[in-house]
């Protein structure tokens, strides 16, 4: 059984318009359809990458998986149970099973908490263990992320560097021994020379501590190094999924192809193709039915704007794309 399953999950937000606009001018309520009918399956020990640009819905998806936001429609199942039907005890259990790390190392820690307070907060809030056991587990996890407790436990965030803060964030998520870790762009605000260290650390911990990881990023170079499977999202829709190497080296969806060819390569000798894409990205406000990439796609046709192929996640590791012209297009 899959550890986590998303079935047709959508999340809409209302665009706040004025009372007068609505009552007097009769303007309809506009909806931001941030995530639309997304399917996903995560098994034990999987590392799944979700890639896409801003506005694609990857962060919203993260928040829904970690229970911080409720889906507008669809189901999120953890070990077969629907998480929106949890009572408060089950909710607490869920938080100890699924944890999250965040993007901004400078904002992720409470400036008033020492490192030990931040890391111990989860177990204390969920009353997982007695206090002295919590303290020793905190010591353990701090060691595991490379921060010696003797040196770091009493420090305040302003006494830590960006990389150290991010490690504290990882420690405070992993201290609860979750089965799944959601990582929302944890590296993008770190210095280049520090990123590799945190990435390597995450990979190592995932292997040692047996948790699956959903890693969300706009940086395909990083995802290429950490994810086993990769899902590409555009404006709330999942457009392609498959083994990372496959998706990156043989993209099937026109958006994926454009995205990959746009990634700069740290080598002056390499050449890459000009991304084949039209126009600018829009916001997913009241989008038309069908594939949201239609207007920017150089290969789109009538059907594209009417219907959208949803990805069937039950096909295991297969490389799938939501482009209905996939057989016709030969990349």
């Amino acid at each position: 059984m899959a550890l986590l399953e998303l079935k047709n999950v959508s999340r809409h937000f209302e665009v706040k318009s004025g009372l007068i606009d609505r009552l007097i001018y009769g303007k309809p309520i506009r909806m931001i359809k941030a995530v639309e009918n997304v399917n996903l399956i995560v098994n034990e020990n999987d590392v799944i990458g979700i890639a896409g640009e801003s506005g694609c819905g990857k962060s919203t998806t993260c928040m829904m998986i970690s229970g911080l936001l409720k889906p507008s429609s669809g189901e999120i199942l953890y070990q077969g149970k629907r998480i929106d039907q949890f009572d408060s005890d089950e909710n607490r259990w869920y938080h100890s099973q699924v944890q999250m790390i965040f993007q901004d190392p400078y904002e992720t820690l409470n400036p008033r908490f020492r490192v030990i307070d931040t890391v111990a907060e989860g177990p204390r809030a969920l009353k997982l263990w007695p206090e002295n056991e919590i303290v020793s587990r905190v010591d353990d996890i701090l060691n595991a992320v490379g921060l010696s407790p003797l040196k770091y436990a009493e420090r305040y965030p302003h006494e830590l560097s960006g990389g150290e803060r991010q490690r504290v964030g990882i420690a405070s998520a992993l201290v609860m021994e979750p089965k799944m870790l959601i990582a929302d762009e944890p590296l993008s605000m770190l210095d280049v020379s520090i990123r590799a260290g945190i990435l390597v650390l995450l990979k190592k911990l995932a292997l040692e501590r047996h948790f699956s990881c959903v890693y969300v990023s706009h940086d395909l170079s990083i995802l290429g190094h950490i994810a086993d499977r990769l899902m590409i999202m555009y404006l709330g829709q999942a457009v392609e999924v498959g083994p990372t190497r496959d998706v990156i080296q043989n993209p099937k969806h026109p958006y994926t192809r454009a995205l990959i060819s746009a990634v700069p390569v740290p080598d002056p000798r390499s050449r890459r193709a000009v991304p084949n894409i039209i126009g600018d990205i829009s916001r997913p406000i009241d989008p038309p039915p069908g594939c949201r990439f239609t207007l920017r796609c150089p290969y789109s046709d009538e059907t594209c704007s009417q219907t959208f192929l949803k990805l069937d996640m039950n096909q295991g590791d297969k490389h799938l794309t939501a482009c209905h012209r996939q057989d016709a297009l030969d990349f």
């Binding site: 820690l109 409470n110 008033r112 030990i116 969920l126 303290v135 436990a153 609860m176």
Partner: protein
């Protein structure tokens, strides 16, 4: 193993105390304010032992004359009233009353204001609307008439004076703390706390409150200062507590006696005390403001 690394709660408490001490003393004005307040506190605590005479006892000077309306002298350093009462003793005992009313009103009002601000700001929605409209209504209430009505209805008792002051003063701190709560609750570390599984109440009081603390302390000092002025105003108008004397009450007595133009010393000492204490409180809150608003700190 590393038990050495984990301090106990009282060590943290004392560390916080010293942190506050640093904040106040880091600032010249804060330091001055602190010592003046400390002085008044000292006087207030030891009042009954410091007062040289009974406050409402007719005094006779060294020559045996009735000591009425005497200017400040060695015998009566603050002078006397028209009835021969020693003003210094009154002043000293009034310090106690004023400080008690000020501190109690200040603390209760900040307690109410902070909690309403935190809860309103964190939960938002209907709760926020209701609480804020309630606060708005109180904003519309003019203070002095309200106190007057309350006292007139229920009598000149200490509790009602405190109640009246508290009911009016909590409103500003509520608004301000609500605003800061709203700003803080969107920050990533609060989202992270929710992701860790913290309940709403835990987030409000364990995560947000420490971050609102500098602002809170700032308003605590302000509230105490306002309470003192408010009490002085009410007492001056005759609506203070009937049983004890306060600085404002002393001014009320002065006014009643009709000797305002003559007995400048009677007017000077209570007024000076009010000004000194309130200014010191403002100085101390200024020191906290630098923490609450780091931009004010010198570069």
């Amino acid at each position: 193993m590393s038990d050495l690394a984990h301090k106990t709660w009282y060590q943290i408490f004392f560390r916080n105390i010293s942190e506050h001490y640093q904040i106040i003393h880091g600032n010249l004005l804060g330091r001055i304010g602190f010592w003046v307040i400390a002085f008044f506190l000292f006087v207030a605590i030891l009042a009954p032992w410091l007062a040289p005479h009974e406050p409402w006892e007719m005094q006779y000077d060294s020559e045996g004359n009735f000591a009425s309306l005497q200017m400040p002298s060695w015998e009566f350093p603050a002078g006397t009233t028209h009835l021969g009462y020693d003003l210094l003793s009154q002043l000293i005992l009034a310090t106690r009353t004023t400080l008690i009313i000020g501190a109690v009103s200040g603390f209760i009002s900040i307690l109410i204001g902070a909690n309403i601000g935190l809860i309103s700001g964190y939960y938002g929605g209907k709760l926020d609307e209701v609480l804020m409209r309630f606060t708005d209504i109180l904003y519309g209430m003019p203070f002095l008439p309200f106190v007057i009505v309350l006292i007139a209805l229920f009598g000149r008792k200490l509790e009602f004076v405190i109640l009246a002051i508290v009911l009016i003063i909590w409103r500003t701190s509520a608004r301000v703390i609500r605003a800061q709560t709203i700003a803080i609750k969107q920050r990533q570390f609060i989202v992270a706390a929710r992701a860790r599984g913290c309940s709403d109440l835990r987030i409000i009081y364990r995560h947000i409150l420490p971050n609102v603390l500098p602002l809170l302390l700032l308003y605590a000092s302000f509230n105490i200062a306002w309470s003192i002025i408010t009490e002085a105003s009410a007492s001056f108008l005759g609506f203070g507590d009937g049983e004890t004397i306060s600085w404002g009450g002393m001014l009320y007595e002065l006014w009643l006696s009709g000797k305002t133009r003559v007995a400048w010393w009677w007017f000077a000492s209570p007024s000076l005390c009010i000004v000194l204490l309130v200014t010191s409180l403002v100085f101390v809150s200024r020191a906290y403001e630098e923490v609450a608003n780091p931009r004010l700190r010198k570069r």
